[in-house]
Symmetry: C2
Amino acid sequence: MAYDASALPDVSGLTVGIIGGTGDQGRGLAYRFARAGQTVLIGSRSAERAEEAAREIAALPGVAAATVAGAGNEEVARRSDVVIVAVPWDGHAATVAALAGPLAGKIVVDCVNPLGFDKQGPYALTVEEGSAVQQAAALLPESRVCAAFNHVSAPLLADPEIDRIQLDVLVCTEDRDAAAVVAALAARIPGMRGIYAGRLRNAHQIEAFTANLIAINKRYKAHAGIRVTDL
Amino acid sequence: MAYDASALPDVSGLTVGIIGGTGDQGRGLAYRFARAGQTVLIGSRSAERAEEAAREIAALPGVAAATVAGAGNEEVARRSDVVIVAVPWDGHAATVAALAGPLAGKIVVDCVNPLGFDKQGPYALTVEEGSAVQQAAALLPESRVCAAFNHVSAPLLADPEIDRIQLDVLVCTEDRDAAAVVAALAARIPGMRGIYAGRLRNAHQIEAFTANLIAINKRYKAHAGIRVTDL
């Protein structure tokens, strides 16, 4: 039962859709998955902007053009096997709710961190459902909802000179098989591991911990992530 | 501003008191600090039980007998430079409030994690003040209150065969100088680093993250901690 990447399922044939794929986090994840050879669909409210982002990502070092395309969010949700939600917290509930139909039966990975900012820096917002991912789960009763990729630094993802992203992706979900798929997807990105980290009710602190990572980045001039030790 | 252990203050002369030093976490931390050559005072409601624990720790491999003593909580608070609060969450408020006098002016390090357990495992409890450490800060207005050592696995601390504890101690506080002292104390334990991780209002998620570590430990048969990457 120790962490063993070789025991994870083969996910190389899955299409990964990214809702909000034109934002920094979504774009960075799209780049890394495309660079790993995964078929990636960039989603946006505007199909044109999604196509433009896809063309830009396809032109980045290490990406075969055939692996990235762009489309409207609904089409991306429909055509993908695994769908990552990477939208701003402000539009989270509305965007997710509108996609409940095409996301039915799919693995949905929420990487949204509900944070506020004031003069003292970032802090965790209170979410009625407990966390962004629990809000998604409430809005998507037919989907297999996970939290993951909450702590991945967008600047690191975007930097073509960086080969390996040295951090662990924490996966929270009630669905053990979905956790394995998401962990396997994380492990497609060199340097990353995907680690099961508990049920959805324990996702809040993973989302909120991003505020701590921002504080760490500020103090130490870093792009911090976390690695789980003793695994 | 990158992490640099050599820039941390010299804390080798400080006396570390541990309130709740007869519990697993407190005893483990006492052992590691004593083994690092720090003078350690074990505190308990019962001075006798504290003295007994001190004798047991002094007999463990790597500890010079002169570095560990036991006493009642109040005496430990009075005689120590830095006081770690390692009591069960149940008695946290009462224990801390009773020590407000002797803890005035001192650095107080709260490592308590308010967790509940049910059939589905551990989960974070709601704390009126936001977190255990914020409760301590409210009860100890004259102290320099930090959260730290929340994620340190007691079985690893207690195992004399383990030389290095490979993890980072996240320090939350409003007091920059106190953060440096606590980070330096963490760095006295081989393998550990002390990392400033934000203000007290962002300590809740660090305490709550212990629930995730417990889930990780269960799934992977590990004693998980975390290491901050890119530092």
